[in-house]
Protein backbone atom coordinates (compact mmCIF):
# COMPACT_ATOMS: atom_id res chain seq x y z
CA UNK A 1 0.00 0.00 0.00
CA UNK A 2 2.69 2.33 1.07
CA UNK A 3 4.63 1.45 -2.01
CA UNK A 4 1.72 2.36 -4.30
CA UNK A 5 1.25 5.75 -2.72
CA UNK A 6 4.97 6.37 -3.00
CA UNK A 7 4.83 5.47 -6.65
CA UNK A 8 1.87 7.70 -7.31
CA UNK A 9 3.60 10.52 -5.47
CA UNK A 10 6.61 10.03 -7.69
CA UNK A 11 4.41 10.04 -10.77
CA UNK A 12 2.77 13.24 -9.59
CA UNK A 13 6.15 14.83 -8.97
CA UNK A 14 7.18 13.92 -12.47
CA UNK A 15 4.00 15.27 -13.98
CA UNK A 16 3.99 18.48 -11.99
CA UNK A 17 6.46 20.42 -14.13
CA UNK A 18 4.40 19.72 -17.23
CA UNK A 19 1.27 21.06 -15.48
CA UNK A 20 2.94 24.28 -14.44
CA UNK A 21 4.42 24.61 -17.88
CA UNK A 22 0.97 24.40 -19.40
CA UNK A 23 -0.14 27.20 -17.12
CA UNK A 24 2.80 29.40 -18.01
CA UNK A 25 2.19 28.94 -21.70
CA UNK A 26 -0.72 31.17 -22.56
CA UNK A 27 -3.22 29.67 -24.93
CA UNK A 28 -2.64 30.78 -28.51
CA UNK A 29 -4.20 29.83 -31.81
CA UNK A 30 -1.51 27.24 -32.45
CA UNK A 31 -3.87 24.70 -34.01
CA UNK A 32 -5.12 27.27 -36.49
CA UNK A 33 -1.55 27.97 -37.48
CA UNK A 34 -0.49 24.35 -37.82
CA UNK A 35 -3.65 23.64 -39.84
CA UNK A 36 -2.65 26.42 -42.19
CA UNK A 37 -6.10 27.95 -41.83
CA UNK A 38 -4.49 31.21 -40.73
CA UNK A 39 -3.50 31.72 -44.37
CA UNK A 40 -7.16 31.82 -45.31
CA UNK A 41 -7.63 34.71 -42.89
CA UNK A 42 -4.52 36.45 -44.21
CA UNK A 43 -5.74 36.02 -47.79
CA UNK A 44 -9.19 37.43 -47.04
CA UNK A 45 -7.76 40.44 -45.22
CA UNK A 46 -5.30 41.08 -48.03
CA UNK A 47 -8.09 40.95 -50.63
CA UNK A 48 -10.03 43.59 -48.68
CA UNK A 49 -6.92 45.72 -48.25
CA UNK A 50 -5.83 45.50 -51.87
CA UNK A 51 -9.40 46.21 -52.97
CA UNK A 52 -9.42 49.36 -50.86
CA UNK A 53 -6.08 50.45 -52.32
CA UNK A 54 -7.31 49.96 -55.87
CA UNK A 55 -10.41 51.95 -54.98
CA UNK A 56 -8.30 54.77 -53.52
CA UNK A 57 -6.11 54.85 -56.63
CA UNK A 58 -9.19 55.10 -58.87
CA UNK A 59 -10.57 57.96 -56.79
CA UNK A 60 -7.16 59.63 -57.02
CA UNK A 61 -7.14 59.28 -60.82
CA UNK A 62 -10.66 60.65 -61.08
CA UNK A 63 -9.75 63.70 -58.98
CA UNK A 64 -6.67 64.32 -61.15
CA UNK A 65 -8.86 64.14 -64.27
CA UNK A 66 -11.33 66.66 -62.82
CA UNK A 67 -8.48 68.97 -61.86
CA UNK A 68 -7.14 68.89 -65.41
CA UNK A 69 -10.61 69.53 -66.81
CA UNK A 70 -11.06 72.56 -64.55
CA UNK A 71 -7.56 73.80 -65.23
CA UNK A 72 -8.38 74.42 -68.90
Amino acid sequence: MQRISKLSLLALAMLLPSFTKAQEQAEMADVMRSDGKIYVVVAVILIVLIGLFVYLFTIDRKVTKLEKKLGK
Binding site: A26, A29, D60, V63
Partner: protein, 224 residues
Protein backbone atom coordinates in the same frame (compact mmCIF):
# COMPACT_ATOMS: atom_id res chain seq x y z
CA UNK B 1 1.04 63.86 -52.28
CA UNK B 2 3.79 62.22 -54.29
CA UNK B 3 2.91 59.00 -56.05
CA UNK B 4 5.85 57.05 -54.68
CA UNK B 5 4.67 57.80 -51.14
CA UNK B 6 1.36 56.15 -51.98
CA UNK B 7 3.21 53.06 -53.16
CA UNK B 8 5.25 53.08 -49.95
CA UNK B 9 2.00 53.27 -47.96
CA UNK B 10 0.63 50.26 -49.84
CA UNK B 11 3.78 48.21 -49.31
CA UNK B 12 4.08 49.07 -45.61
CA UNK B 13 0.44 48.28 -44.93
CA UNK B 14 0.56 45.00 -46.83
CA UNK B 15 3.63 44.09 -44.80
CA UNK B 16 1.99 45.14 -41.52
CA UNK B 17 -1.08 43.03 -42.19
CA UNK B 18 0.82 39.91 -43.25
CA UNK B 19 3.48 40.16 -40.54
CA UNK B 20 0.91 41.26 -37.98
CA UNK B 21 -1.00 38.05 -38.47
CA UNK B 22 1.82 35.62 -39.07
CA UNK B 23 4.88 36.64 -37.07
CA UNK B 24 5.37 35.49 -33.50
CA UNK B 25 4.11 37.49 -30.56
CA UNK B 26 4.73 37.14 -26.81
CA UNK B 27 2.52 34.49 -25.24
CA UNK B 28 0.61 36.32 -22.55
CA UNK B 29 -2.36 35.19 -20.51
CA UNK B 30 -5.69 36.98 -20.94
CA UNK B 31 -4.40 38.80 -24.03
CA UNK B 32 -3.49 35.60 -25.83
CA UNK B 33 -3.72 36.03 -29.58
CA UNK B 34 -5.54 39.37 -29.26
CA UNK B 35 -2.22 41.09 -28.58
CA UNK B 36 -2.12 41.43 -32.37
CA UNK B 37 -4.89 44.01 -32.10
CA UNK B 38 -2.16 46.40 -31.01
CA UNK B 39 -0.85 46.45 -34.59
CA UNK B 40 -4.14 47.82 -35.83
CA UNK B 41 -5.65 49.66 -32.85
CA UNK B 42 -2.68 51.80 -31.86
CA UNK B 43 -1.90 53.31 -35.31
CA UNK B 44 -5.46 54.66 -35.51
CA UNK B 45 -4.82 56.92 -32.52
CA UNK B 46 -1.40 57.86 -33.76
CA UNK B 47 -2.77 58.97 -37.13
CA UNK B 48 -5.65 60.78 -35.42
CA UNK B 49 -3.24 62.82 -33.31
CA UNK B 50 -1.14 63.69 -36.32
CA UNK B 51 -4.18 64.70 -38.40
CA UNK B 52 -5.52 66.91 -35.61
CA UNK B 53 -2.07 68.49 -35.24
CA UNK B 54 -1.91 69.31 -38.95
CA UNK B 55 -5.44 70.69 -38.75
CA UNK B 56 -4.38 72.89 -35.83
CA UNK B 57 -1.40 74.12 -37.84
CA UNK B 58 -3.63 75.20 -40.72
CA UNK B 59 -6.17 76.79 -38.38
CA UNK B 60 -3.46 78.95 -36.80
CA UNK B 61 -2.18 79.79 -40.25
CA UNK B 62 -5.67 80.76 -41.32
CA UNK B 63 -6.02 83.17 -38.42
CA UNK B 64 -2.70 84.81 -39.30
CA UNK B 65 -3.43 84.95 -43.01
CA UNK B 66 -7.06 84.18 -43.93
CA UNK B 67 -7.13 82.21 -47.17
CA UNK B 68 -9.80 79.81 -48.31
CA UNK B 69 -7.31 77.09 -49.20
CA UNK B 70 -5.88 77.08 -45.68
CA UNK B 71 -9.36 76.72 -44.22
CA UNK B 72 -10.07 73.77 -46.54
CA UNK B 73 -6.96 72.04 -45.31
CA UNK B 74 -7.85 72.61 -41.67
CA UNK B 75 -11.30 71.06 -42.19
CA UNK B 76 -10.20 68.08 -44.19
CA UNK B 77 -7.35 67.10 -41.89
CA UNK B 78 -9.74 67.32 -38.94
CA UNK B 79 -12.23 65.23 -40.89
CA UNK B 80 -9.68 62.51 -41.61
CA UNK B 81 -8.58 62.62 -37.98
CA UNK B 82 -12.16 62.11 -36.87
CA UNK B 83 -12.53 59.08 -39.12
CA UNK B 84 -9.42 57.50 -37.60
CA UNK B 85 -10.55 58.30 -34.06
CA UNK B 86 -13.87 56.53 -34.70
CA UNK B 87 -11.96 53.51 -36.00
CA UNK B 88 -9.76 53.69 -32.89
CA UNK B 89 -12.79 53.72 -30.62
CA UNK B 90 -14.52 50.83 -32.35
CA UNK B 91 -11.40 48.64 -32.56
CA UNK B 92 -10.69 49.41 -28.90
CA UNK B 93 -14.21 48.39 -27.90
CA UNK B 94 -13.95 45.12 -29.77
CA UNK B 95 -10.61 44.36 -28.12
CA UNK B 96 -11.96 45.35 -24.69
CA UNK B 97 -14.87 42.93 -25.08
CA UNK B 98 -12.47 40.02 -25.29
CA UNK B 99 -9.89 41.04 -22.73
CA UNK B 100 -11.89 42.98 -20.14
CA UNK B 101 -15.24 41.30 -20.77
CA UNK B 102 -17.10 44.46 -21.66
CA UNK B 103 -17.18 46.94 -24.51
CA UNK B 104 -16.79 49.96 -22.31
CA UNK B 105 -15.34 50.68 -18.90
CA UNK B 106 -15.77 54.14 -17.48
CA UNK B 107 -12.13 54.90 -16.94
CA UNK B 108 -10.34 58.15 -17.82
CA UNK B 109 -8.56 56.80 -20.87
CA UNK B 110 -11.68 55.59 -22.64
CA UNK B 111 -13.87 58.47 -21.59
CA UNK B 112 -11.17 60.95 -22.53
CA UNK B 113 -10.99 59.46 -26.02
CA UNK B 114 -14.78 59.55 -26.34
CA UNK B 115 -14.98 63.17 -25.17
CA UNK B 116 -12.24 64.17 -27.62
CA UNK B 117 -14.21 62.61 -30.45
CA UNK B 118 -17.30 64.55 -29.37
CA UNK B 119 -15.28 67.78 -29.16
CA UNK B 120 -14.24 67.30 -32.77
CA UNK B 121 -17.74 66.35 -33.87
CA UNK B 122 -18.80 69.71 -32.38
CA UNK B 123 -16.23 71.38 -34.66
CA UNK B 124 -18.19 70.16 -37.68
CA UNK B 125 -21.52 71.06 -36.07
CA UNK B 126 -20.18 74.59 -35.55
CA UNK B 127 -19.07 74.81 -39.17
CA UNK B 128 -22.42 73.61 -40.39
CA UNK B 129 -24.30 76.20 -38.38
CA UNK B 130 -22.62 79.34 -39.75
CA UNK B 131 -23.74 80.56 -43.18
CA UNK B 132 -21.16 83.24 -43.87
CA UNK B 133 -17.94 81.71 -45.20
CA UNK B 134 -15.48 84.11 -43.56
CA UNK B 135 -17.23 83.93 -40.23
CA UNK B 136 -17.38 80.15 -40.42
CA UNK B 137 -13.70 79.83 -41.23
CA UNK B 138 -12.59 82.22 -38.50
CA UNK B 139 -14.89 80.85 -35.79
CA UNK B 140 -14.03 77.24 -36.52
CA UNK B 141 -10.31 78.04 -36.64
CA UNK B 142 -10.52 79.50 -33.13
CA UNK B 143 -12.61 76.56 -31.96
CA UNK B 144 -10.10 74.14 -33.46
CA UNK B 145 -7.37 75.58 -31.26
CA UNK B 146 -9.53 75.01 -28.19
CA UNK B 147 -10.42 71.53 -29.37
CA UNK B 148 -6.74 70.60 -29.66
CA UNK B 149 -6.06 72.16 -26.26
CA UNK B 150 -8.79 69.95 -24.83
CA UNK B 151 -7.50 66.84 -26.57
CA UNK B 152 -4.00 66.98 -25.11
CA UNK B 153 -5.00 66.67 -21.43
CA UNK B 154 -7.92 64.34 -22.22
CA UNK B 155 -5.81 61.81 -24.08
CA UNK B 156 -2.23 62.37 -23.01
CA UNK B 157 -2.27 63.72 -19.47
CA UNK B 158 -5.32 62.76 -17.39
CA UNK B 159 -5.24 59.02 -18.28
CA UNK B 160 -1.61 58.80 -17.22
CA UNK B 161 -2.32 60.29 -13.82
CA UNK B 162 -4.91 57.71 -12.85
CA UNK B 163 -5.10 53.96 -12.78
CA UNK B 164 -6.77 52.18 -15.64
CA UNK B 165 -7.25 48.81 -17.25
CA UNK B 166 -5.82 50.33 -20.39
CA UNK B 167 -2.03 50.17 -20.64
CA UNK B 168 -0.22 53.45 -20.28
CA UNK B 169 -1.75 54.44 -16.94
CA UNK B 170 0.25 55.51 -13.93
CA UNK B 171 2.84 57.41 -15.90
CA UNK B 172 3.95 54.59 -18.18
CA UNK B 173 4.38 55.64 -21.73
CA UNK B 174 2.12 53.91 -24.24
CA UNK B 175 2.44 50.17 -24.20
CA UNK B 176 5.51 49.31 -22.16
CA UNK B 177 3.31 46.99 -20.11
CA UNK B 178 2.91 44.79 -23.17
CA UNK B 179 6.58 43.96 -22.84
CA UNK B 180 6.69 45.04 -26.42
CA UNK B 181 9.57 43.01 -27.75
CA UNK B 182 11.65 43.84 -30.77
CA UNK B 183 9.70 41.45 -32.96
CA UNK B 184 6.53 43.43 -32.28
CA UNK B 185 8.25 46.73 -32.89
CA UNK B 186 9.33 45.51 -36.31
CA UNK B 187 5.67 45.15 -37.25
CA UNK B 188 4.16 48.03 -35.30
CA UNK B 189 6.37 50.87 -36.48
CA UNK B 190 6.26 50.15 -40.23
CA UNK B 191 2.51 49.80 -39.79
CA UNK B 192 2.27 53.17 -38.07
CA UNK B 193 4.20 54.82 -40.91
CA UNK B 194 1.98 53.06 -43.45
CA UNK B 195 -1.19 54.27 -41.73
CA UNK B 196 0.19 57.81 -41.45
CA UNK B 197 0.85 57.88 -45.20
CA UNK B 198 -2.61 56.44 -45.80
CA UNK B 199 -4.15 59.18 -43.64
CA UNK B 200 -2.20 61.90 -45.45
CA UNK B 201 -3.25 60.43 -48.78
CA UNK B 202 -6.95 60.39 -47.88
CA UNK B 203 -6.75 63.91 -46.45
CA UNK B 204 -4.98 65.21 -49.56
CA UNK B 205 -7.67 63.65 -51.75
CA UNK B 206 -10.37 65.35 -49.69
CA UNK B 207 -8.58 68.70 -49.94
CA UNK B 208 -8.32 68.33 -53.71
CA UNK B 209 -11.99 67.42 -54.04
CA UNK B 210 -12.95 70.45 -51.96
CA UNK B 211 -10.78 72.70 -54.12
CA UNK B 212 -12.53 71.37 -57.23
CA UNK B 213 -15.88 71.93 -55.56
CA UNK B 214 -14.92 75.51 -54.83
CA UNK B 215 -13.84 76.10 -58.44
CA UNK B 216 -17.11 74.65 -59.74
CA UNK B 217 -19.04 76.93 -57.40
CA UNK B 218 -17.07 79.92 -58.69
CA UNK B 219 -17.86 78.96 -62.30
CA UNK B 220 -21.54 78.63 -61.42
CA UNK B 221 -21.46 82.00 -59.76
CA UNK B 222 -19.79 83.59 -62.78
CA UNK B 223 -22.44 82.11 -65.08
CA UNK B 224 -25.39 83.54 -63.15
Amino acid sequence: MKNWLKIVAVILLLYAHIAGLLLGVPRLNILNETIRCLYFHFPMWFVMTLMYSISLFYSIRYLRNPQLGTDHRAVEYANTGLAFSLLGLVTGMQWAKYTWGTYWVGDPRLNGAAITTLVYVAYFVLRGSVENQEQRSRLSAVYNIFAFAAMVPLIFIIPRLSSSLHPGAGGNPGFSSFDLDNKMRMVLYPGVIGWILMGLWIASLRVRIRTIEEKVNELDYAKN
